[in-house]
Amino acid sequence: MLGRLFKYEIKATSKILVPIYIAFIAITAISRISIELQVDKNSPLYFISDIGFLIFMLSAMTIFVATAIVIVWRFYRNTSSDEGYLLFTLPVKTDYIIISEFLCAFLWSIVMSVVVVIGIFLMIFNSNVGGITINFPYFKEFFSSLNFDGGKVIFIMLLDMTISTLAEIMAIYCAISLASLFKKYRLMLSVLFYIGLVIITNTLDILVIRIITHNFIPQTETISETYDTATFAEAWNSLIVPSLVSEQVIIDLIFLITITVVEYFIVRKILRKHLNIC
């Protein structure tokens, strides 16, 4: 049943998102080409090369927003509007309904990230930035100077991104579910609840970390000092790596997982006992 629900979620959402992602790649390719044209500064057509990068940035933001909107809209429609009649009279557990949407949202988040990376790659590869040609040898050299602590860094980064994304999605679901308890102004209430959840979560997060690490001294070390003088590699190795491979991050991740689980049970309770389809 979970598989079937997931299948239909994908079917419904891919109709909108896949064309958007393809369009993004196409626009990125065109942007790149327009930059490469290197139209003469004096020609009235100069703007074509100039706006190439801008177009890319805008379309990257657009697919991010589009993905977010689809995730939010899908959950809202399924739980608070007429389509909820169809979904919640199916002989399936509410858990499965929530999880199928959750996983679908997560899948699109990953796809979107991958697509953005591809886009960035299309834009910068083999291009000339400040006299440096970005190509394979460059990447090889760049990454070799970075410390990855035997893969730990990559692992923690991926774990962090995954858990953060999952927590984000569940927070959105929780906000929408809480708003659905009311009859009117649901959209506005969803936003308010979401902001509220973010504030509460972040505050608790910092509190929990401080308490556990017995660290009540606020961070005074300013990162900007070190950035000025160091190369990216030095900043990476001396700042970013230690902050990732630390107790703090582990606590943070466990905390996020806990919050996500709590929010899941809130969503579940609301959808099972207080379903309010208007």
């Binding site: 049943m1 079937r4 239909y8 079917k11 419904a12 109709k15 429609r77 007429d82 389509e83 009649y85 169809l86 919640f88 009279t89 199916l90 002989p91 399936v92 557990k93 099972r272 006992k273 207080h274 379903l275 389809i277």
Partner: protein
């Protein structure tokens, strides 16, 4: 064993008892009309039976089972709204029902769609309101369920569509299942009913066989209803 058994059912919203201690027993092979003015609790009761709402107290059992996944598998619910998104195509909707409901009779659905000239590639967006309602009805009736819940099935449709819907309900009749219809259009519907239940302010004011009413009161159910509720 009755196909539906409701005992002392109460549903509270804030401080109000929207369903106020009702008890009903419905046997198999019956077509029941659930009538009442707006706000009487009709739709709330239907939603409780469909598993969309949870009762505050009391018992509901459908075919001996408590409301849950098991009853959702044997209850076929037609809401008073179209519940398919406009972008969907007919074959998507058919596949959906077929995938999730073991009792869905694809052949029956296809036959009924063909009789109405509805194609599998038709998009919901292009359909008239009447056609959408017929499509919804076909899907609900193509399930071999034990209890059919039809919430205002003929509201706002033209007479031809209405006749089609009523005939479909009759043709689908089975001794192993029952149908509960809520409606405001009593005159159109009363000839297909076995029993009628009047609901008002969450309470049952009348629960009787239709023919008994006609015999005793020498009036149609429509007339009796109008007298009681002066709509």
């Amino acid at each position: 064993m009755p196909i539906l058994e409701i005992k002392n059912l109460i549903k509270k919203y804030h401080t109000k008892n929207v369903i106020d201690n009702i008890s009903i027993s419905v046997d198999s092979g019956k077509i029941i009309g659930l009538l009442g003015p707006n706000g009487s609790g009709k739709t709330t009761l239907i939603k409780l039976l469909a598993g969309l709402l949870t009762a505050t107290s009391g018992d509901i059992s459908i075919d001996g089972k408590k409301i849950g996944i098991e009853t959702k598998a044997i209850v076929s619910f037609l809401p008073d709204r179209p519940y398919f998104a406009n972008w969907m195509k007919v074959h998507y909707v058919l596949a959906f029902f077929s995938d999730f409901y073991r009792d869905f009779d694809m052949k029956k659905a296809m036959e009924m769609l063909e009789l109405l000239n509805i194609g599998v590639n038709d998009r919901i967006k292009t359909m008239s309101k009447g056609t959408k309602e017929k499509l919804n009805l076909i899907l609900v009736m193509s399930r071999d369920a034990k209890l059919y819940l039809l919430d205002e099935p003929i509201g706002g449709v033209d007479p031809a569509a209405r006749d089609y819907i009523l005939k479909t309900i009759i043709s689908n009749y089975s001794e192993d299942s029952s149908v509960i219809i809520t409606t405001h259009h009593i005159a159109d519907v009363e000839k297909i009913l076995d029993d009628v239940i009047f609901l008002n302010n969450g309470k049952i004011e009348l629960n009787s066989a239709v023919e008994d009413l006609r015999e005793k009161r020498e009036k149609s159910v429509d007339e009796i209803f109008r007298e009681n509720y002066k709509c």
